[in-house]
Amino acid sequence: MRRSNCVEVSKLEMMGMRGGAGEAEVKFNDCVVGDDDVLGKVNEGFKIAMVTLDLARIGISGVAVGLSQGVLDEALEWAKTRTAFGKPLIDWEWIQFQLADMKTKLEIGRTVTYKAAWLYDNKDPLFVLYASIAKLYTAQMAVEIARDGVQILGGFGYSKESFSERAYRDAKVLEIAEGTNEAQKIVIHRILTRGLPEVEL
C-alpha cells in the first residue's frame, strides 16, 4: 500500500521513542490496491507478520542492549565523579553492587541476543525460541537497568539533560511493542509444550 488520500492518520503522543518514529493511528478508507500488491500469497499474510516479527525481536533486543550500555556508561562515569558523604559514590558498596548487577544483567542480555542472531545466521530453527527468550529477557533488563541508572544519577537522572532519563522512557516500550512480555511467554510456552514451529530460514 502506497501513501494516498485514502489513508487517514491520527498521531499518538508517546512516553518514549519519541520523534522520528511518529507513531500514529492509521485508518484505511476504501483503499484500492491491485493483485500485484499482494505480498506473498493471499491468506498467508499472518505468517509473514510472524516471521518478520521473529527477526524484529532480535532488533528490539539490540535496542535494549544498546540503551542499557549507554545507561551503564553514564552511571559509571557519574559514580566516579560525584561525591556524597565525603567520598566518591563509587566508593560506597551499595553503588558498587548496583553497578555490578547492571553489568551482569547487561552481559547476560548481550549473550542471549547474540546467540539468537547467531542461530538465525546459521539457519537453526531454535532461532524462534531464542528470539523470544532474548526479547523477553532484554526488554525487562533494559527497564531495570535504566531504572537503576536513573537512581544512581539522583536528581540529574530525572532531568532531561541525562541520557538515562530518556533511556528509561524508551526502554518501557520494549516490554510492549513487537510482542509484549506476555506474548513472548505464550510463544515460549508453546514451544516448550509443542516443539518448534516450522519456519523457512
Binding site: 503522543e13 512516553m15 527497564v143 539522583g154 536528581g155 522512557r169 509484549t180 506476555e182
Partner: protein, 354 residues
C-alpha cells in the same frame, strides 16, 4: 476509583476525603493532562485548594488550614494524587515543607502574616535545601549566609531542583551555611527570603511531576535581616529534617494515590478488552496481575497510615516509620504502575491527541 477504607479512619476523615475528592474533580481533573503535557504550572488550582483549607490541612483553621491530623493530611495528598501526581507534590511542598515549617519554627510575624497567606494559596513558597554539590548529603551544603553589621545577613550560593522555585515562588525557606563546612549540620541556618532580583532562576526539565516548576536558583548577595532567621541560628538542619519527615509521608501518599488511579484504569481497560477470543479478565495471568496490584496497594495503605498515626500519637520512632513508609511505598508503587502500563499495552504508552 477503588475505595479508601481502613480501620484507622474516622468519620471526620471520611468526610474530608469526600471534600478533597470533590475539589480535585472540579479543579484538578480538567487540567491534569495539561500539567503534564504542557509543563503547565497550576497556579489557580493552588489558590482554589487554599481557599478551601486543603492546601495545608494540618494547620488550624484560623491559619488557613483544616485542623486535620497528619493522617488526614496524608489522605488529602493521596486523593489529590489520584488526579495528578504533580499536584500531590505541589501540595506537599507548599503545605508540608514550607507552610508547616514557618508555622512550627517561624517567629510571631511569620506565623501571623505569612503562614495564613501560604496556607490559602495567596502566596507561593519554596523549600530550598538541595544544591548542585549535594542532595542526599544535605549536611554538606555550601550556600553561605554571612552576618554583617546592623543585623543584616548576605546570602550567596546555588540551589538545585527547587520545586516551584523559579517563576512562581513569592517566598523561600533557604537553608544556608553559617559556619565552617566541617561543622556540617551544626552550622546550618534557615532563612525566610522574599522574591527579589538577587535570585536568578533557570528551569530544569524533568521526566515526571511536570508542571511543578523545578528550577535551579542562584542567590547573588541577597540581603536579609535577623528577623528573617527561621528558628535559631545554626539550628536550621533540624527544621529541614523535621519537614522532610512529614514530606516522606506525603511522598508515600502521592505514590499510593497514583497507584490507585493506575489500578483503576488498568481494571477498566482489561474489563472492556478482548484478546485471543475471550475477555481479558478471563486470563489467569491478568487476574493475578490485578491481584498483586491490589495486594501491594493495600500494603502501602497500611504502612502509610501507620506512619501517619505514629506522628499523630507522638511515638518516639515516628521518623523511622516515615522512612519505612516512603521506602516501601515507592518501591511497591513503581511496581504497581509498571504493571498497569503493561496491562494497558499501547494505550498507556501513548494517548491519542488528534
Amino acid at each position: 476509583m477503588i475505595p479508601i477504607r481502613h480501620p484507622s479512619l474516622t468519620k471526620e476523615h471520611e468526610k474530608f476525603i469526600e471534600l478533597v475528592d470533590e475539589l480535585s474533580r472540579r479543579f484538578i481533573e480538567p487540567v491534569a493532562d495539561k500539567i503534564d503535557r504542557e509543563n503547565y504550572y497550576p497556579r489557580e488550582v493552588i489558590r482554589e485548594l487554599g481557599k478551601n483549607g486543603v492546601l495545608a490541612p494540618i494547620l488550624p483553621r484560623e491559619y488557613g488550614g483544616y485542623g486535620m491530623d497528619v493522617l488526614g493530611t496524608a489522605l488529602s495528598i493521596e486523593v489529590i494524587s489520584r488526579y495528578s501526581g504533580s499536584m500531590g507534590i505541589l501540595t506537599e511542598v507548599q503545605g508540608f515543607l514550607v507552610t508547616d515549617a514557618f508555622y512550627t519554627y517561624g517567629n510571631k510575624q511569620m506565623k501571623e502574616e505569612l503562614v495564613p497567606k501560604l496556607a490559602r494559596g495567596e502566596l507561593i513558597g519554596s523549600f530550598a535545601l538541595s544544591e548542585p554539590c549535594c542532595g542526599s548529603d544535605a549536611a554538606a551544603i555550601e550556600t553561605k549566609a554571612e552576618r554583617r553589621g546592623g543585623g543584616e545577613w548576605v546570602i550567596n550560593g546555588k540551589k538545585m531542583w527547587i520545586t516551584q522555585g523559579g517563576l512562581y515562588a513569592d517566598v523561600y525557606i533557604v537553608f544556608t551555611r553559617t559556619g565552617p563546612k566541617e561543622a556540617r549540620h551544626r552550622a546550618i541556618t534557615a532563612f525566610l527570603v522574599r522574591r527579589n532580583k538577587c535570585i536568578e532562576a533557570s528551569p530544569i526539565h524533568v521526566m515526571g511531576i511536570r508542571g511543578t516548576g523545578t528550577s535551579e536558583l542562584t542567590f547573588n548577595d541577597c540581603v536579609v535581616g535577623d528577623d528573617d532567621v527561621v528558628g535559631k541560628v545554626n539550628e536550621g538542619f533540624k527544621i529541614a529534617m523535621e519537614a522532610l519527615n512529614l514530606g516522606r509521608i506525603a511522598v508515600a501518599s502521592v505514590t499510593l494515590g497514583l497507584s490507585e488511579a493506575a489500578l483503576t484504569e488498568a481494571l477498566e481497560w482489561v474489563r472492556n478488552r478482548r484478546a485471543f477470543d475471550q475477555p481479558m479478565t478471563n486470563l489467569e495471568w491478568i487476574q493475578f496481575q490485578l491481584a498483586d496490584m491490589m495486594a501491594y496497594i493495600e500494603t502501602m495503605r497500611s504502612i502509610v497510615y501507620d506512619a501517619a498515626l505514629h506522628f499523630d500519637r507522638k511515638y518516639e520512632d515516628y521518623y523511622a516509620f516515615a522512612s519505612i513508609a516512603k521506602l516501601t511505598a515507592v518501591l511497591l508503587g513503581m511496581d504497581v504502575i509498571r504493571r498497569a502500563v503493561q496491562l494497558t499495552g499501547l494505550m498507556a504508552f501513548g494517548a491519542i491527541v488528534s
